[in-house]
Amino acid sequence: MNFEFSDNQKLLKDQANKFLADKCPLTEVRKILESDEPYHKELWNEVVNMGWTAAVIPEEYDGLGLGYLELCMIAEEVGSSLAPIPFSSSVYLATEALLLSGTIEQKEHYLPKLAAGELIGTLADAEGYGSISPEGFAVTFKDGKLNGEKMPVIDGDIADFAVVAANGDKGTSLYLVDLSDASISKEVLSTLDPTRSQARLTFSDTPAQLLGKDGAGAADLEKVFDNAAVLFAFEQIGAAEAALDAAKDYAMNRYAFGRSIASFQALKHKMADMFVALELARSNCYYGAWALSTGDAELPIAAATARVSATKAMYQCAKENIQIHGGMGFTWEFDCHFFYRRSKLLADNLGSQALWEEKLISRVVASTAA
C-alpha cells in the first residue's frame, strides 16, 4: 500500500514552506489585516512567479500540468501561512470551473492568463445571509445580460472576472463575467477576516457568457465545490497545524505555579485532542487527495469527508489556541486571532459545515442503497 505523498511531492511542500516562511511570516499577514489593502500584491506576484497559479493547468494552456497531489501540498502550506492572497478564489474556484466546464475557446482565453497571474478569478454564488439553494438564484440571465446582486463575493473587489451562478432560461447555469465592466457596482464589505476581502457585486444588464451547459449550473457547481473542498481542506489542516504549533510553543514557555503550563494535564489533554482532530482530518484529506487526483467515483464522499473534518479541526485548533494563550490570546497584539478569523472564513466560504454534513450523509446513504 502506498497511501502517502511521494518524496517529490513532499519536497515541493517543503519548498513551499520555506518560501512562505520567508515571504509571508505572520507580520506580513498583520500588514494586510491592519491596512486597507485588499490583498498582499507583492506576495501574490511572488506566488505567481513560483508557478503555483499554473500548477494544474495543462501545458497546452501554458500551465505546468502538475497533478492535484502537488496542488494539495501547496494548498496546505498556503493555509499554514494564512497567506493574504486570492489563491483559493482564483485557483480552486475560478480555474477549476473553467477546467471542468469551459469550452476550448474559453480555456484558451482564460487559462493562460490565470496561469500567468494576469487575471484573478473568483466565484460568485452567495446571495445574502443563509445558505444558497442551487436551484433558485435571484440573479437572472436573459438575452446575454446578468441582473441582480451577489453578496458576499470573496475577492469580488479585486478579481478581474467571476464565475457567476444565476438563473437563466433553462434554470441554474454558470456565467463568465468580466468584472471591469462599467455596469457592475462593487461595494467592499466589512468582514471578520480583512486579510481576504469580500464585496457586494450588483449587476445591471451586465454582459455575460455561458460557462458549461445551459441549465447544468447546479451540477457543475457541485463538481467545482467537490474539487475545491479537497483543496480548501488542505488549507484548513495546514492552518490547524500552525495553530496547534503556536499553542504548544506558548504553553511550553509560559510558566505558572513554578512550572511550564504545558505540563498541566488539562492543557496536555486539550492539545492531544487538537492533535487527534488534526490527524483524523489529515487522513481524510489524503483520501480526498487520492480521489481528486484519480477522479475516482468516491470523490463526492471523500471530498465531503475531508471538508467536514478539516473544518472541525481548524476551528478546534484556532479556538483552543486562544484559550491556551489565556488573556494574551484575546489581545490584538498576539496573532491567535488570525487563525480564529481564517478558520471561520475557510469554514463558510465554500458553504457551511452544516451544508457539507448534509451532502456527506446524503451521499453515503445513497451509496449504501446501491
Binding site: K268, V276, S283, W290, S309, A354, E357
Partner: protein
C-alpha cells in the same frame, strides 16, 4: 498514491492465501465466527492449539521471529498481510498472542541460552500458552507501582501478592511476571522479572465477573509460590527494563474495531422511525452520523497511512497513536445513540428480536472496557501529549522516593 500491494507484497499475499486455502475454511460471510459451534473453552483451547500446531508444522507459526528461533523474520507489513488474510478464514485467534508476541521477544532479548532453549521451541510449536502478569489492583496506569513481593530463598524466589486483568490465566501454562524484589529503592529500580509455571503450588486463578456478566480475565493470587532463580529474566532489580521490552512488543494495531460502526448505524436509522418517518431523514440524526462517518473514515485512512509506512519499512508515525482513543469512545457513543433510536425497545437485548442480534446493546455494555484496557483514554492523551507533541510530564509526587515511603490510598 494508491492502495495496491507492491509486487513483493502481492506475492507474499498469494503465498499466504494458497497456504490458508490448503488448511482452513474461508468464511462465506464476514460475520461468520470460528467458534460459533464451540461448546466450551476447553474445546476452544484444543482447537487453538491444533491450529497453532498446523501453522508451526508448515512454518507459519511465528512470522516475525528470527529464523534461528523457528520464525520467518517477517516484516511488519507481512504480518499485516497475514492478519488481513487470516481474518477471512474460520480459524482461532488470540490464544498465542501474549506468548508469541510479547513473551517470546522478551526471552530472546533477556533470556540466557538455556532459557531460550527451554521456552522458545514449545512456544512456537503451540504446546504452551502464556499469560501476562503485570497489572495489580493498586497498579494499572502506574505499572511501576506494583506490590507483589519476591524474596530470595536459597536458589529460589518466594512470591506473594496479587495480579489482576490476566486474560487466559486459567488455561495458560506459563506466565511472565513482574515483582517487587526491593521496596527500599525508587519504584522503577526495585523490580525483578520472572517466568512462572502457572501450575506451581500457591498460584490461584479466580475469574473476574465483568459488567457484561461474562468473564474474560482473572485475578491471580500468589501465596508462597516458589520460582527457581533460573526462571528469572534479566538482572535482579532490572525488571522495569525487561517489562518495557515486553510492552514495546505489543502489536502495532492496525485492525478494525468490531461491534458495529457507522454503516450499521445508518442501516438502523433507515429502519426505525422518529415522529412517523425514518430516523435517517431526521436532521439531528444526520448531524451525528456525519460526525461518526468522518471519524470512521479518518480512522480507516489513518490505518492506511500506518500500513503504508510499514510497507516502506518504516515504523508507523504519530498518527497511529489515535486509533484506540478515538475508536473506543466512538463505539460507546454510537451504541448509546443506536439504543436511543430504538427508543423504549432499546433496552431489550434479546438476540432473537433486537436489531443486528443485539450488537449495539452488547457494545453498550462492552465498550467501557475499550476506553480503559491497554491504556485509558487519559493515559493515551498523556502519551500523545508527551511522545508525539513533546510536552513535559507532570511533576511526580513519588519521584526518586523509596517505594516503601510512597503514600498509598485506601482504594483498591
Amino acid at each position: 498514491m494508491d492502495f495496491n500491494d507492491t509486487p513483493e507484497e502481492a506475492a507474499f499475499r498469494a503465498e499466504v492465501r494458497t497456504f490458508l486455502d490448503s488448511v482452513a475454511t474461508r468464511k462465506s460471510d464476514p460475520q461468520d465466527s470460528w467458534d460459533k459451534n464451540v461448546k466450551s473453552e476447553t474445546e476452544a483451547v484444543e482447537i487453538a492449539k491444533k491450529w497453532q500446531r498446523t501453522l508451526h508444522d508448515n512454518g507459519w507459526a511465528c512470522l516475525h521471529w528470527p529464523k534461528e528461533y523457528g520464525g520467518r523474520a517477517a516484516s511488519q507489513i507481512e504480518r499485516v498481510i497475514w492478519d488481513q488474510e487470516e481474518s477471512q478464514y474460520l480459524v482461532p485467534k488470540g490464544f498465542f498472542m501474549i506468548g508469541l508476541g510479547m513473551a517470546g521477544p522478551t526471552i530472546m532479548t533477556y533470556g540466557n541460552d538455556e532459557q531460550k532453549k527451554k521456552y522458545l521451541p514449545s512456544l512456537a510449536s503451540s504446546e504452551k500458552i502464556w499469560c501476562q502478569l503485570f497489572s495489580e489492583p493498586v497498579a494499572g496506569s502506574d505499572l511501576a507501582g506494583i506490590r507483589t513481593k519476591s524474596e530470595k530463598d536459597g536458589d529460589d524466589w518466594i512470591i506473594n501478592g496479587q495480579k489482576i486483568w490476566t486474560s487466559g490465566a486459567h488455561y495458560s501454562d506459563w506466565g511472565i511476571l513482574v515483582t517487587r524484589s526491593d521496596p527500599t529503592v525508587a519504584k522503577h529500580k526495585g523490580l525483578t522479572y520472572f517466568v512462572v509455571d502457572m501450575k506451581s503450588p500457591g498460584v490461584e486463578v479466580r475469574p473476574i465477573k465483568q459488567i457484561t456478566g461474562g468473564s474474560g480475565f482473572n485475578e491471580v493470587f500468589f501465596t508462597d509460590v516458589r520460582i527457581p532463580d533460573n526462571q528469572r529474566l534479566g538482572a535482579v532489580g532490572d525488571g522495569w527494563n525487561v517489562a518495557l521490552t515486553t510492552l514495546m512488543n505489543e502489536r502495532v494495531a492496525v485492525g478494525e474495531r468490531k461491534g458495529g460502526d457507522v454503516l450499521e448505524l445508518i442501516e438502523l436509522a433507515k429502519n426505525v422511525n422518529i415522529n412517523g418517518k425514518p430516523a435517517i431523514e431526521d436532521g439531528a440524526v444526520r448531524n451525528k452520523l456525519a460526525k461518526w462517518y468522518c471519524e470512521f473514515s479518518g480512522l480507516k485512512f489513518t490505518r492506511f497511512r500506518s500500513i503504508s509506512a510499514m510497507s516502506r519499512g518504516e515504523v508507523p508515525g504519530a498518527e497511529n497513536s489515535i486509533g484506540k482513543l478515538v475508536g473506543a469512545a466512538k463505539s460507546q457513543d454510537m451504541a448509546e445513540f443506536a439504543m436511543m433510536l430504538m427508543d423504549r425497545a432499546g433496552m431489550i437485548n434479546d438476540k432473537e428480536i433486537a436489531p443486528f442480534a443485539g450488537m449495539f446493546q452488547q457494545t453498550f455494555m462492552q465498550s467501557p472496557s475499550g476506553r480503559i484496557a491497554g491504556g485509558t483514554d487519559e493515559v493515551l492523551r498523556n502519551v500523545v501529549a508527551e511522545r508525539v507533541l513533546g510536552l513535559p510530564q507532570e511533576p511526580r509526587a513519588d519521584k526518586g522516593m523509596p517505594y516503601n515511603e510512597i503514600p498509598t490510598g485506601t482504594m483498591k
